[in-house]
Symmetry: none
Subunit: 413 residues, 2 copies
Amino acid sequence: MMRVALINTGTELLLGDVHDAHLAFIAREIFPLGLRIGERRTVPDGEAIRSALTDLFLRCEILFVTGGLGPTSDDVTRDIVADLLGLELQRDSELLASLKDRLKERRIRWTSSIARQADVPAGAQILPNKSGSASGLYLKPNINPQIASPHIFVLPGPSRELQPMVHVSVMPILHSIVQTRAGIERRLYKIVGIGESTVEELIGEKVLAIPGIELGYCARPGEVDVRIVGESDALTRADAVIKNALGLSIFSVSDETLEELIVKLLTKRNATLAISESCTGGLLAHRITNVPGASNVCVAGYVCYANEAKINMLDVDPDLIAKHGAVSELVARMMADGARGHARSTYAVATTGIAGPTGDSPDKPVGTVYIALASSNETTAKKLFFPSDRETFKQLTAQAAFDLLRRKLIEDQ
Amino acid sequence: MMRVALINTGTELLLGDVHDAHLAFIAREIFPLGLRIGERRTVPDGEAIRSALTDLFLRCEILFVTGGLGPTSDDVTRDIVADLLGLELQRDSELLASLKDRLKERRIRWTSSIARQADVPAGAQILPNKSGSASGLYLKPNINPQIASPHIFVLPGPSRELQPMVHVSVMPILHSIVQTRAGIERRLYKIVGIGESTVEELIGEKVLAIPGIELGYCARPGEVDVRIVGESDALTRADAVIKNALGLSIFSVSDETLEELIVKLLTKRNATLAISESCTGGLLAHRITNVPGASNVCVAGYVCYANEAKINMLDVDPDLIAKHGAVSELVARMMADGARGHARSTYAVATTGIAGPTGDSPDKPVGTVYIALASSNETTAKKLFFPSDRETFKQLTAQAAFDLLRRKLIEDQ
């Protein structure tokens, strides 16, 4: 497999002021070609890029370098690449003319430093930039026969310039370089309701026993992603193992989120949802309404932290709250029923629990939570326990509530 | 200045599946100590971490390593660090017991692979993890006298585990390492309601004209952080310039969030809040309820995406919706008034807007939003325009609504 590396240059990245999106973008673009980034380095503007380049020239066959192509004094990527490869910088007259046109059009004053953007290392291919003034560069391997070097793509720093350049200019060159390796594919499984170590126990050994399979896990609160990479035959075998072991715990084999799936399932069934939240405090509604089209299915959300709100908004019986406590199975059920009744929705989910750090009691420690689901034929409830910090508690509870609804939606299919 | 490097491990990062937030987080945390990350490397799970560590041992005085501390087979950071430094891994019985307790408490089944998380390289300091099972490690320089090595902090991959560990355990160690440069201080200003370039225009030149001041900006949706670093006298002068230019737009000079400030102000005034959200879909309630103690002041939240919900939950007049549209100043006002009336709260905020990608019209393009605030003496509303993606739109609207409330709370003092 060809080794790929990426160098991101930019002091602002290392100060934490700018979030770098290039790694994720390039990784996904090149994945279908069977290429993976094996290493990424982030270095400040200026000379630091020199040692990163020197190191990586010998450690990869394809090298991406981003940033440092602008007109200011700290933009030195072009110069360092040319210098390291012993290539003369030549001012490209066509590029110079188009730069001048561009600035005139935008009524930006010409300064002599801008002309540097028309300098091209001898023999390099210019990658046009439709969205900015900094052209990219492609330098073929050993472009200077006396110096060993990989395929080098030098790309501008801003995403809105880099991304179209990758689509239009870089991908066609990569296609011709790579001669796509037949058969290497990737599959993703998104799992809810069981933890990472349990997932590994259920599938790890069996999947890794299949020759040629690479297996990876990634855990988030209430969710585990499993990734397998390999040739088609091996993938088919691994897929069977994973689906057999994890079954309904797999909620998606694509990139969709749990909330996207729920909006899709509700839309497909022409069903609507009401949400009543005590301890999740609006998180369920927030996540659902992040999905475009949510307004058609999520008809109402009740955030009823206070007992009065549970009573006034959802007709929860105050005597029951007094008797069983607000964090109880009965109150969760009444919240779900109340929300479904008031909103006249097909389904309603409810959450009530103790997020902490206060509000606990000996028999209801921080992390105690009840979730409930009301539908036309039944109301179900579940007690769970997520002792953790406040935000993780909310996320875990949201995952569990969505999962309860998802399983019901599948059942009602 | 001490050189700092960061290694992020995780195949999921290089595949583009997970967005890495550690660089930005750590960079901001260590900034006040006068430390900056000089280089960051991202490497896949497994043996690749070895060469990155070897390289960087000699190129920095402080090294952070994130990820690869979990219980699964691809979590090998602990082993490789121990191996490279020639340190024996010793199973820590106290850690093992607390791991077992943790799992028992959470009713997660014990698997033998979890025990690896209790392995500690001889002589390393354990950094407790309050939010997960993977402890962090601190290894002092040249911990094995025969091998040159920097200060090494080995931290867990998930942000919700890494971030509290940095606050609680890493920063105190760094403080003692760095012996804060005498007289150099840092101030932070959190600004809402104006953009980064406007902030820079208002203060940039004047602040940088003060000798010995370092100035930095950091922008998030609807919020700009301004950082100044310098000696006490210079800071006092810069502080006056900034406060004079930005005035009430500065909502905090500490690390508190806008929602923390609002809960604090409401609590202080013995006031309560109701929230009614159309386009923000629960985000306001979610953010407020992330603050411990929110349950005492945030009495009710209404998520009323659908017109029927606005009518049923908040008594918005259906004729007015028909005449003016759900996204209108009048409807925003009625939502705020309705929420305040139903919840019998001191204040109520409301949002209604077009998050997109659909739902727009020629006179109300995607990004149009109205926010309203009801109180005992008046109801005010504001039209804003945030053309952006759905999630950014929600964040910008939430910031604007919180800011409207904040200014009212200051006024009502």
